[in-house]
Symmetry: C2
Subunit: 384 residues, 2 copies
Amino acid sequence: MPARRYLFTPGPTPVPPQVLAATAEPVLHHRGPDFKALFAETLERLAAVCRTEYEIVLFTASGTGAFESAVANLLSPGDRVLAVSQGEFGERWQKLAAAYGADVVPLAYAWGESPRADDLAAALAETPAEVVFLVHSETSTGVVCDLQPLAAAAREAGALVVVDAVSSLGAVPLETDAWGIDVVVSGSQKALMTPPGLALAAVSPAAWERCERTSGPRFYFDWRRYRRARESAGSTPFTPAVATVAGLHAALGLILEEGLERAFARHAALGRACREGAKAMGLELFSPDEERSAVVTAILTPEEADARELVLALRDRFGITVAGGHGELAPRLFRVGHIGWFDVFDIATALAAVELVLGDLGAPIERGAAVTRALEAYAETVRA
Amino acid sequence: MPARRYLFTPGPTPVPPQVLAATAEPVLHHRGPDFKALFAETLERLAAVCRTEYEIVLFTASGTGAFESAVANLLSPGDRVLAVSQGEFGERWQKLAAAYGADVVPLAYAWGESPRADDLAAALAETPAEVVFLVHSETSTGVVCDLQPLAAAAREAGALVVVDAVSSLGAVPLETDAWGIDVVVSGSQKALMTPPGLALAAVSPAAWERCERTSGPRFYFDWRRYRRARESAGSTPFTPAVATVAGLHAALGLILEEGLERAFARHAALGRACREGAKAMGLELFSPDEERSAVVTAILTPEEADARELVLALRDRFGITVAGGHGELAPRLFRVGHIGWFDVFDIATALAAVELVLGDLGAPIERGAAVTRALEAYAETVRA
């Protein structure tokens, strides 16, 4: 018997068999009518998930590629930008903008903190910026920020607003147009429950306009090439990951069939189940204990148990992959992802295994409470 | 019954069911031991196919992304480069290098011509360049250049040699190390018979050294990030297309099991079968009628038949996708790809259908000769 494997990380996430089957269909030519129809509908479905009328640019790349596209298309060397960071990914975007020669003003929070709109407004009042970069869901810490007032503060200060929604899109509410966001960046491998390999940018008219005036080098990630290829040929400028597009098309169909509101409610319930279960075991949360923490739950181990040992034991004893913590947090932090194709029994499995391993590592935890509490919290939330 | 579909283009190419099945396996986490082992073996197999000891950098991108990586990592603004072009892709690389601010000296041949080493040596003697860009197989015309003397001429002139082997790698002989090539760029979706979405660069020590001194902006395509991630974590810096890596691993296994020499001989025989069949029908070849033309055969229609109508009729009547010609060549040119998972009966199918459609379009062609001659030529070549 092949060993069972459980993928409980915040990306890549488990992919439903219907989606895997779509990726394994015979390969289509990217200039043929079958692919063009699939591609057009995929872009429509992505726009629906982004809640936008804006044009979607789809890259064959990791999420970072789409983020680089925002930097390369919006910034010329010397442009001043403000980048809000509350963890690993916010810091990555600061490095990326700096690599393109931008004058990067950081608004840095400690890992685990949530950025605040009034801080952003004050920072922009002191040092105006042309573009503001925000991370919606900071996968390294489990913090999902309150995006709408942050975007409003940036917009009121006259900046374009770019949002990293790599792990949040499809999991928690995000209203691209209604919240005045100019660029939303995401990837296929998180709540969109498709294998990694595709990344997208939803681009507002103001961002398109700015991209025409930018002077830095760009080719593969040049938005304008994608617009031209779509308009002239209904396709992409370079051979796209056609099989992954077929998977994404199928996955988006499943998501829209469930309905976005229902998907958001399910993610909120999964997050609450995970937090309640962890607390019932006696563990301390690192993620904020609030409804928005619906993407990944970051949990601290008791001092007696090294989180790195926990992660390895889960993997080696049970075939369960959860994520560890970065840097200084590594000895105590682990993260359970619950985005995309997840239900509460995945949470139960993760908590049951964590309980077993922590007990064996000699940590003082409550036995037998986590799974029951998680299921109960899920039922309460779904009923509410 | 679902309609039969025949993909006879020079990329994406048909993918064997074993490879599609590998891509549809449950998704692996890119930092876990299962993926790391798969990734390491995939890089080894790629090095074997490239005939190199150099380090392989694997990107989640189209082939153009890997090509951009060569430009971004090797060139600073103002660097002088010589780019040889004999068709669409050579011209693309000239634009790409220019987009990065390089001083691009073109050595341009008419579409369909084969570049010559003595021309290159003379051009470099007149205007020295730091890097020379070559296209091994020009997919737009079917020309496969005689790469070894071209690379030698560039190297003798003191230039680094970058080769676009997107459609040639695995189909025709290419000796990265023995021929003194510094960077070989290719993609998953051609002779490597994997869905599109992965691109690679094999990078010589001299190219690594140069990449440390380059000043232009780069992040997603920065070779150094990939080296660090591989050395420190056995993985990639950004979430890779794990499912496509699983497919590529399987496909490379099939290729190495067949043996590279046998694969080259099969492609040469397929190319000859296609050319001989087309000639037997009375058609004129646009690709050179030589053994190296083993990737894609470019064929001219008789004046009576518009090639664009032929391409559409093949598609709409028979579900057969072949490629058209670009620009001025479009009214007369069509291209039959025969790379990767192909055998002679695919050539027979393509020729039989072309014969039918051209006859219906009123073109004066010989009926009933092409398939027989193609099979005969294939058998002769394989026996030889």
